[in-house]
Symmetry: C2
Subunit: 343 residues, 2 copies
Amino acid sequence: MAKRHKADARPTIAQIAQAAEVSVATVSKVLNGRVDVSPPTRERVERVIKEYGFTRHRPAHSPRKGKTGLVDLVVPRLDDDFFFPILEGVEQVLKEAGMRLVLSTTDYAVEQQLQWLEMEKERPADGIIFVLPSDDVIEALSRHRLPFVIIHKQGGTPPTVPSVSITSWDGGFAATNHLLALGHRRIAYIGKNVYAMDGIERFAGYRTALEVANVPLDPALQREGEFSATDGYIATRELMALEDPPTAIFAGNDHQATGVYRALYELGISIPSIVSVIGFDNLPFTELMNPPLTTVQVPRLELGRIATTMLLSLINQEPLNMRRVILPTRLIERQSCTSPTGK
Amino acid sequence: MAKRHKADARPTIAQIAQAAEVSVATVSKVLNGRVDVSPPTRERVERVIKEYGFTRHRPAHSPRKGKTGLVDLVVPRLDDDFFFPILEGVEQVLKEAGMRLVLSTTDYAVEQQLQWLEMEKERPADGIIFVLPSDDVIEALSRHRLPFVIIHKQGGTPPTVPSVSITSWDGGFAATNHLLALGHRRIAYIGKNVYAMDGIERFAGYRTALEVANVPLDPALQREGEFSATDGYIATRELMALEDPPTAIFAGNDHQATGVYRALYELGISIPSIVSVIGFDNLPFTELMNPPLTTVQVPRLELGRIATTMLLSLINQEPLNMRRVILPTRLIERQSCTSPTGK
């Protein structure tokens, strides 16, 4: 993480400690005006501090006068590891800017999101980063006094709204093409009804890839799902019970893929020799799955970093290079896909 | 997550929308004083709001006058999923209390932690929750104007410091006993040098269990490590190269266990038939490992919830039932342990 941070011109407590040949704790004591430091030591430390122009760690780019130095980040949930690198990216950039991250959750409920915005009106903040807002919330945000940037979205976003998202369509297209290239024709998709633009786009990518390859679309292979392990499990039990079951399953996200694995394992169907599986998101645990899951990488850290950089520009009334940033996805090939048997 | 929240007496926007037979968005529009609402609708909504005594979502237990409503949570890193349930627990309780969570990272560096405290002096906040503070930081916190609670710790904590931690010693003892009960005598431990009380305690539990069972302690089976997959991998390569290799490996944490798995997999050593493996923390991915990892469950959500509840009491100058809370760990048996071959 550290290496991602911009170099900081200010001398650190450690540098001062080193220059004054004392411990970090001693420097801290001097800064805190503690009495339990010997006069000569105190003098030496103070001399170094004066020399280095040490400024009690005031941040390099400190927020303008009158600003609160607080930025709100709103995510649906904290029990879904999908959001953590986004959180990490936001925290990195705010830390670099000497701003503070205020974290809130509103689940996926429009009502909770609107309530949060109501409360926000009475709270100090310089700007808002909202992950997966509903259309109602985006509309409310647009009337809000504070600048904001959204990450992903539940519905369509007016191009004027500052947003960062990913090429979900390309991801769905690439994943499906990978399976087609291996010779698969019976390719299932789970999660077609996900209430997020993101999910709608990757399903569209799946359909388009099949159409381009002249593979007939079979509605029986397109399953509902809400991106949970449970619906991946249920859909897979249904899919494998079909008269003409799929030879490959494209799970809408990695959590769902773990449910697909469990169902296939229970049925004694081996991955990938009988059924190939592909996921979406490239969550850390996918490397540890057996076999390691082929999936689509989503630049989640960058989603957070870029959204925050955009928000800081808006807060400082600087122009944005782009109001709508879309980051690329990338296929990660592991061992869960191969050519269908008998092909 | 929602179900863990206390019931909120305030009528929600949804309840008002229902009572007024309008959409949530319409209620929001009325609350926002929007003009694009028909007068009769507006009247109906306003009547319901008046009737319910709707108070623009002011939190049930709103912070006292003069308070900032902000609580700082400081964690080492955001790329380690160990911390997320702690974060989730803190956010849940603060949300229930109508307080805002300010998130910071300081890595494991004493200097960064002290710098953070320096900056904190110039920032508004009602209290601090510090995860894994160094002794220097605990000392500095004790002199700080704000109330604080610490979660885990790097060194020994004076019993007067409000803290929440886990029974790491018991966890290490239980994990080792589990392997002893299966008949293992050559049991390795990885991570003896971890710079955290937590790590020191689980190693002590391992040693004690062996002593109680009259199994001679073999220093060759006690390996260094920093709780990363890499040192788990390196230590395992070294351990299996011993003349008398272990029949069981106790990894200091789950991340390390993934490195142990990789090393054994490369060496063609099957788990658990040749070598049993046990981890610590019960991170979500351990269920997905092959075979699923036997590990020690750490109540991380509760660490966050209880520390926050304690802090809120301190902020409101209420007495604490206990200044030092220690939560139990629990062995989770999966498929990575069995009796040693030939025993």
